[in-house]
Symmetry: C2
Subunit: 485 residues, 2 copies
């Protein structure tokens, strides 16, 4: 069965677009101290952005009752073999060092399916955020990293139709709204509708996959070019191509599904009818979830993936994201690009089960690297705090290191995030400068007089106002000030 | 220079002890669906524990003003080459697939040093929590994973002596206290004191390292055995061995450092005096931090590591952790084992700098895998929630799926963590059972009557009390109930 034989990647999440910071090549001068070509370090500012994005996404997954799992970064080579079609050449193998043959994971979906089969789990709602690895063609590495995050949410289990599928779309809607990346659209289609359409348009059975791949290019090629590829390269009849052309230009909602169910040709395909009936049902649930404003039933969405068996979807930003890079393959060509994608894959778990027992799954992958790069770009001019320090313990006079350390420990013990300079006699100015630079909002200043009076001078870095606070009340006062910010 | 030539691992963090769940071997029956030998999946319960531990640790790191960075899982092989001494054989290499020669990171310290040198960073306080990889000898794999977390906190920069060092110890104290692992002790020593001691006891210069390794075994071998190894295997004179024996039995605090500064022999070594003077200073800071209750200056602590240049420390649990496994190497032999370790390494960054520019560093690594395994064992009898769902939207009657979905979306949109069953007509009992099983505290029940009355029946799963709540007030009521729990 074709749909089970080859698994392609769900989302091309290796980030494209410009990324702040240095490239692997620019580091080359210092031999021996480079990161490996095609990977990158994350500096504290990038990490701060990453943490914020993860918090939003994980918050959404948890709001929907998801658990999380983790799997090893490498799998037995045999687990990955035969799952990714021609992309298999991008898999990183480990050296045979006298043990098992191992490969770095290429996505999180295959390890998830392996996990379910191995542990005989027949239902779970889980998320998994982790890095995956792809030895992308060196000619394509510009901006596309070989190590990148995937951020997957999947619902496994035998349930009534379209309910979990609708929840996945609701999740995409929630996350993209919360991340404030600008306007977006979620295209939806169904593999059964595509296959039915190919059948009624007269595409021979053995050409379904290859024609599907060509249709998948409609987001970056004109219909004329797509038609020409179908006819000239793939040998499809002009008639069939033109019939496909009529269908793939259709976009709509529930109404379109209803109309196509009445369509003289489409209604001849049992598969198409099953897909269209489910599409109607899906839209009725999406109405209840109030997300139909962003969702479009789009017959041109193909996603070129082999493991999907039902609903498929892809979210794209419709506003100015990062400009596409010349020569970038993938969705970057025309639109600002896909930021989430997924669908139903009911056959994958069965590939790992000794008895072929199937576990229906539907899921979504957030294109987190693209989100990072958009937000990094947005933040490039802004100051981003990389620590959460609330107060700096400082002194204006000399010989107060011990008093500073004592007060700092008091604050730490009270759960206050506090810093102190590792110098015996730092200048007050340099202590204040550090607060300005790193966004620390408060300074607790100690001096001989303050110690005598049993107070601490609490300074607001922004307003530069200072007030004496009783030492015994300092913790409460800091908490109050922080809460007010 | 010996201290720079070879870098050993900072902490043997591959977990020992029993770990709940299955071993790689027990999975073997299902060919093709195993995890790679020596690694493990984390199930949702393990992940929930892991998340809690990370939150505690990250909370502490942030309280101390740390930023975080991330580095790729693989480095250029040359970056790791010559850093780990004979442990280099445990490094996982990637297959040469026509690109650069790459290896999986063995620890986080070498990538950190590479990062500092590459980016010319001369001061930073950072934490890094990530997985590292060690192809441990198959004969030793029992319970010791080949993929495991490290959890590092380091302070890089030229500062006044012992202030950052004291903060690292304060951090260990805070984390071990907060994790409630039972009583613990932090042993402290200084490489300069050890080297000075060896010199004044008549150990030839070229035997410092090897004698140091033998001393390092004192936590799992008797003095007699250690002495015998020094004399018989390493050719040390009996006299020198006995003099070492006198010193390494010493434990104390600031007083011990003061006494040794007066010691006729020790005071002859400039190095020892420098170390002892700093040890005094360290203890004075530790007093200000109020952590001297757990810290012991212990002359037998050697840590056998080559990259340390000053203070070294190691925290051990003194109460019943997981029982040691027979044949386990490392600290497991006698004590319940090390849960944190670290020290000062002032030469490592310079190894990566083209001009050899040094950046002094001090840091600590929390033995997080051991912490996981202790907490997993503790939790094995308990129920651990793997989701955070606050309310289940249920119905007692049929044909209310749409109403359930609508209410669920309302709750999601209000930020409430809510679940709904993916069934058209689930039984009320099975909905309630799911709440019991997964620890969901509240159920919002919809029925024809409730819909008519504009209310929702809110049920407390634990007390089984039910109350009608106005639909418009439901979100507030749920928030109130959750806050009360």
């Amino acid at each position: 069965m074709n749909a089970l034989g080859v698994v392609s990647r769900r989302l091309c999440a290796g980030v494209a677009g410009r990324v702040s910071g240095w490239s692997a090549h620019s580091l080359r001068p210092f031999a021996g101290i480079t990161v490996s070509q095609g990977t990158r370090d994350y500096n504290p500012k990038q990490m701060a952005i990453r943490e914020k994005v993860f918090n939003t996404i994980i918050g959404c997954f948890k709001r929907h009752g998801a658990e999380t799992i983790d799997t090893p970064v490498f799998e037995l080579k045999e687990t990955l073999t035969g799952k990714y079609g021609e992309d298999s050449k991008l898999i990183y193998d480990l050296k045979d060092q006298g043990g098992e043959l191992l490969s770095l994971r290429y996505d999180l979906t295959v390890p998830f399916a392996r996990y379910l089969a191995m542990n005989k789990i027949s239902n779970i709602k889980r998320y998994h955020i982790a890095k995956v690895y792809r030895r992308d063609n060196p000619a394509m590495t510009r901006g596309r990293y070989r190590e990148f995050y995937q951020c997957d949410f999947d619902i496994a289990g035998q349930y009534d139709p379209m309910i979990p599928d609708a929840e996945c779309l609701k999740i995409v809607h929630e996350i993209l709204s919360e991340l404030e990346l600008g306007d977006f659209r979620i295209k939806v289609n169904d593999r059964r509708i595509l296959d039915g359409m190919f059948a009624v348009c007269g595409v021979p059975d053995d050409k379904f996959r290859t024609i599907c791949s060509t249709v998948d290019k409609l987001d970056k090629m004109s219909w004329e070019d797509v038609r020409s590829e179908m006819v000239k390269e793939k040998g499809l009849s002009e008639e069939a191509a033109d019939q496909i052309g009529q269908y793939v230009s259709m976009q709509g909602g529930k109404d379109l599904a209803e109309r196509l169910l009445q369509d003289a040709k489409m209604s001849q395909s049992k598969q198409a009818c099953a897909g269209l009936t489910d599409m109607k049902l899906l839209f009725s649930y999406l109405e209840l979830f109030q997300v139909t404003d962003k969702v479009v039933f789009d017959l041109s969405l193909a996603r070129g993936l082999d493991y999907y068996t039902g609903v498929i979807y892809e979210a794209i930003l419709t506003q100015n994201g990062p400009a596409p890079e010349a020569g970038e393959k993938g969705e970057e060509g025309v639109s600002v690009g896909s930021v989430a994608g997924g669908g139903r894959y009911d056959g994958l778990v069965g590939m790992f089960d000794p008895k072929g027992r199937k576990v229906p799954c539907v899921g979504v992958s957030i294109g987190i690297e693209r989100v990072f790069s958009i937000l990094e770009q947005k933040a490039s001019a802004e100051k981003v705090r990389t620590t959460e320090t609330q107060v700096m313990v400082a002194s204006a006079q000399k010989n107060l290191l011990e008093e500073r350390l004592k007060l700092t420990a008091e604050l730490w013990n009270a759960g206050i995030k506090a810093e102190v300079m590792y110098k015996k006699n730092p200048k007050l100015l340099s202590q204040l400068q550090h607060c300005e630079d790193s966004g620390i909002p408060l300074v607790a200043i100690l001096g001989e007089q303050e110690l005598k009076d049993g107070v601490v001078k609490l300074r607001d870095v922004h307003s530069r106002e200072e007030a004496d606070v009783l030492r015994a009340e300092l913790v409460e006062e800091i908490k109050k000030r922080i809460a007010d910010v």
